[in-house]
């Protein structure tokens, strides 16, 4: 394990994914920025984040569950290949990648709508 330092992992990922690595990293960065900006908009609008967060969690769970069943296929294997706790754990972790992306998108959409509604219908203080 000691041999798998971050620099080595970077080169392994680069050789595995090629330029897609940068596309994925860029997409992850944009999603992160989008979530932060939308959260700030929500805060400025003085709207509660509960509903967008709940929607994001639901989307993450749903997308992760869907992708969990697709992950073995991505490795040219069937779902029956998952045969132990470590297999299920790693399949879940991999499925979390698109799951979190879906959650982030849903959060941005829901929070954006919430903030926009606040502008149209300001909350009385």
């Amino acid at each position: 394990m000691a041999d798998f330092d971050p620099v080595t992992l970077y080169f392994i990922l680069y050789e595995s994914l090629g330029a897609w690595l940068f596309a994925l990293a860029g997409a992850a960065f944009l999603l992160l920025v989008g979530v932060i900006v939308t959260a700030l908009r929500l805060r400025r609008a003085d709207r509660p984040a509960r509903k967008p967060v709940m929607a994001a969690i639901a989307a993450t769970v749903l997308a992760t569950a869907v992708f969990f069943f697709m992950v073995p296929g991505w490795t040219l294997a069937g779902i029956d290949a998952l045969s132990g706790a470590v297999d299920i754990l790693f399949a879940t972790l991999l499925a979390l990648v698109p799951g979190i992306a879906a959650g982030a998108i849903v959060f941005m959409l829901a929070a954006g709508r919430c903030a926009a509604r606040s502008v149209r219908h300001p909350v009385a203080t």
Binding site: T8, F11, I12, S16, A25, T75, A77
Partner: protein
């Protein structure tokens, strides 16, 4: 990797390092040595990459006629019908570092007394240090009646001969499963690369037949060359147990010596004389040996078990030649007890490079190789055992959360998705 990507990558790598990477900085040497690398396979390219970075003033020459480079660990997945030959085929030119001279010829003569090698065109190249990384020869002709051109015909398969042969082997497996009959598997008695592959292809044929509902129509027999199916005792026990559970019969001390493709008969040398078995399908693993240029040189072992097939004499911990101190043997051609896998190369190359760098920089060379090798043993479609062991046959798992003797999808994930990237990074001296 173009300049833009490299800069982006370097930035990302730097950022990752700043997060607390435990990466150790490679030592360097400013020696103006002439270094020759014979062979541009996994070991040769990896050596060229590391040496060019760690010995900037050295003159490095790599000699090999081959232009295509094959990711050989992927042959099993081609044999399973999952990958295509194009998935394992790269260009050597893409991995030779700038500043390294590539002579596109084979080495035909090694003269370690005069510190020089000769190429096919008669060109003589002098060196201060030689890295012999020629790979090995698949000697199909040592099996009477066998020829590489027979692969993919009349039930004969062999995933070792290259990506196209591996693809042809899959077609033969499919045909065998569809038609039914007796399938023979096994391995040679010589030292060989990836000793797990003959077992993997047996498991794949078994699983393929099960998935097609045809297991009852095929009889699978594994002919082990010795009294075990695998040299590492816990792995041997596990595989025997799995073969028993999957109704794969095992014959011990059976070495394939002849094949009659017309009659579909295979002859094995056994302790009680020759035995001939009928087959409908046979997976042939050829005897392996050092290339002729090595065998005809003073470099091989002069006596002992490794002398017969011409493997280069080498100290098993430093890979340095005991009679020619400026010669190192790396990869398949090295005459060491284990280590004819890409995983071995991954650990051998840093040892020989770090030791040469230390020596030429006036420091004591201290790096040692413990015989590490790895075999992601595919046991079914989607499952594998991630077996790693050293010279002593001790299991040394890299990932403490993966049971080396457990059939896991996570091990398959590493085989199917992880190894090729790691291998390519290794060729660039980055893993």
């Amino acid at each position: 990797m173009n300049r833009r990507e490299l800069l982006l990558g370097a930035g990302a790598a730097g950022a990752l390092s700043a997060l607390g990477a435990s990466s150790t900085r490679a030592q360097v040497s400013s020696a103006r040595a002439r270094i020759v690398i014979a062979g541009a396979g996994a070991a040769g390219l990896s050596l060229a990459s590391r040496l060019s970075r760690q010995m900037e003033n050295a003159t490095i020459t790599i000699i090999d006629a081959k232009r295509a480079h094959h990711f050989q660990p992927g042959y099993t997945l081609i044999g399973a019908g999952l990958w295509q030959p194009s998935d394992v085929t790269f260009r050597n030119a893409d991995f030779i570092p700038s500043g390294v001279e590539w002579i596109e010829e084979s080495v035909t003569e090694f003269d370690p007394d005069a510190n020089r090698v000769a190429t096919a065109s008669g060109r003589v190249v002098d060196y201060d240090f030689l890295f012999a990384a020629t790979g090995l020869v698949l000697d199909y002709r040592r099996i009477d009646g066998m020829d590489e051109s027979l692969i993919g015909k009349d039930g004969i398969a062999s995933i070792y001969a290259g990506p196209d042969a591996a693809a042809a082997s899959f077609r033969e497996i499919e045909s065998f499963v569809d038609k039914g009959g007796v399938g023979l598997f096994g391995r040679p008695s010589s030292e060989m690369k990836c000793a797990g592959a003959p077992l993997k292809i047996t498991f794949i044929a078994d699983d393929r037949a099960r998935r097609k509902g045809r297991r009852g129509n095929v009889e699978l027999i594994y002919n082990a060359h010795a009294g075990t199916v695998f040299a590492v005792p816990p792995v041997n026990d596990k595989v025997r147990e799995m073969f028993a559970a999957r109704d794969v019969a095992v014959n011990y001390n059976h070495v394939l010596t002849a094949i009659d493709p017309g009659a579909k008969k295979a002859t094995y040398r056994t302790e009680s004389g020759d035995v001939t078995l009928d087959y409908d399908f046979i997976h042939v693993v050829p005897p392996m040996r050092a290339p002729d240029a090595i065998i005809n040189s003073p470099l091989p072992w002069q006596e002992g078990a490794l002398a017969a097939d011409g493997w280069i004499e080498a100290d098993k911990t430093t890979l340095r030649h005991p009679r020619f101190a400026n010669v190192f043997a790396v990869g398949d051609v090295a005459g060491v007890p284990r280590g004819k896998t890409a995983a071995s190369v991954k650990w051998q190359v840093p040892v020989v490079v770090d030791n040469l760098v230390a020596e030429t920089a006036g420091r004591e060379p201290t790096a040692t190789y413990n015989g590490y090798t790895s075999c992601p043993m595919v046991t079914a479609y989607g499952k594998a055992m991630l077996i790693e062991f050293d010279y002593d046959g001790t299991l040394i798992p890299s990932f403490p959360f993966i049971d080396p003797l457990g059939e896991r999808w996570i091990s398959w994930l590493i085989e199917e998705k992880g190894l090729k990237g790691a291998y390519r990074a290794m060729l660039r001296g980055r893993a």
